[in-house]
Symmetry: C2
Subunit: 203 residues, 2 copies
Amino acid sequence: MGTAERKEREKAEVRKMILDAAMELFIKEGYDSVSIRKIADKIEYSPGSIYTYFEDKASLFYALHVEGFGILYQKQLSAQSIIDPRERLIAHGRAYIEFAVENQQYYDIMFIQHEAEEIICKEKNWDHGHRSYDLLKRNVAECKAAGMFKDLNLDSVAFVLWSTVHGIVSLVIRRGVALKELVNQENNIIIESGLNILRSFIR
Amino acid sequence: MGTAERKEREKAEVRKMILDAAMELFIKEGYDSVSIRKIADKIEYSPGSIYTYFEDKASLFYALHVEGFGILYQKQLSAQSIIDPRERLIAHGRAYIEFAVENQQYYDIMFIQHEAEEIICKEKNWDHGHRSYDLLKRNVAECKAAGMFKDLNLDSVAFVLWSTVHGIVSLVIRRGVALKELVNQENNIIIESGLNILRSFIR
DNA sequence: TGACAAATTAAACAGTGTTCATTATTTTAA
DNA sequence: TTAAAATAATGAACACTGTTTAATTTGTCA
């Protein structure tokens, strides 16, 4: 009697519908349109029923944050086939930036917005972030084994490299218009030359 | 008859009261407490009267954003007394990070929150940002003149250096708790070793 | 079919930014 | 000094927001 399984599956489906509706609103109409009522409208449910699937709005964002880390990790893995450690590390950075630019809303939720952090603390489940960060650390470690980053601390190098690509994409995401005025270049050019400089730093 | 001047002065005073109350609420009770009604409560005015001094809430944030750039620029100038271009550039970065850590709420408004960007676009007054960015560019240019950053584009180097320090502080500000878990170090240690790595990159 | 469980709902609550007609205050001019 | 004009402050209202809860509907199983 698979009714229990079916019910579970149906619940997961509605849950996914909510998350998809939230992302679609975020992408198409901006952050301010991601309200419980608008999500409910979109999936033709009442606002209250959202709370059968998520404790509160922050938990909903946390679920999107988890989804985002899944997409990011897949993207990161695509760079792992490269054999040369230095080129692999650079491809890793490029994959990260590509993820951020192609999924600005996910990136926003994962690394910029403060709604997520409250739940990150409460849940205390760092697995998703750790998996991605460990991959970076491993790539940096193999660069070190190949003679790069001499006399530099592994953790510190990994963190600064992460900070740099995070800085680039978060400035583009949150201050894109101002950047165009400031740096006097299109955002994609800004990103590309940013990667070039980063390449020259990695020795 | 100095009544007009006095009136102008009084208006500026109330305006400043509103901005101060907003920042105090932001610092002491967090972002969610910065509501028009709570600001009005704090200065013992009615909520509606805030709109005599600011067009809307976003304009209020824009005014804080301008205030923040004033503080940042002063901080940046303090590093300009150093003669050696490389050490001056590093001190510039340190000053930037110090400003961000000491004025997390200002930094949030200036570079992270999206409330500000709408107004930045509308106002089209990039002077405050430009003044700070030009100072960085000048310092990078003088490093180039001293033989550093060979074959690298001035604008790109400046942007990446900015991105790096921005990345470091914005991760600390928005994901401080997760960072402690991820990098396994206190935030001030993370920042310090970050600056060390950055120093090693600048050659 | 009846009993139980789970999901859904509408209504309500307290909060938000913002607008606006009304009131109060202050400045200007006669 | 007094009347008129300009300015500022107010509180109520509007349309939102996230969230809770009692009541209702729906579905499952004995």
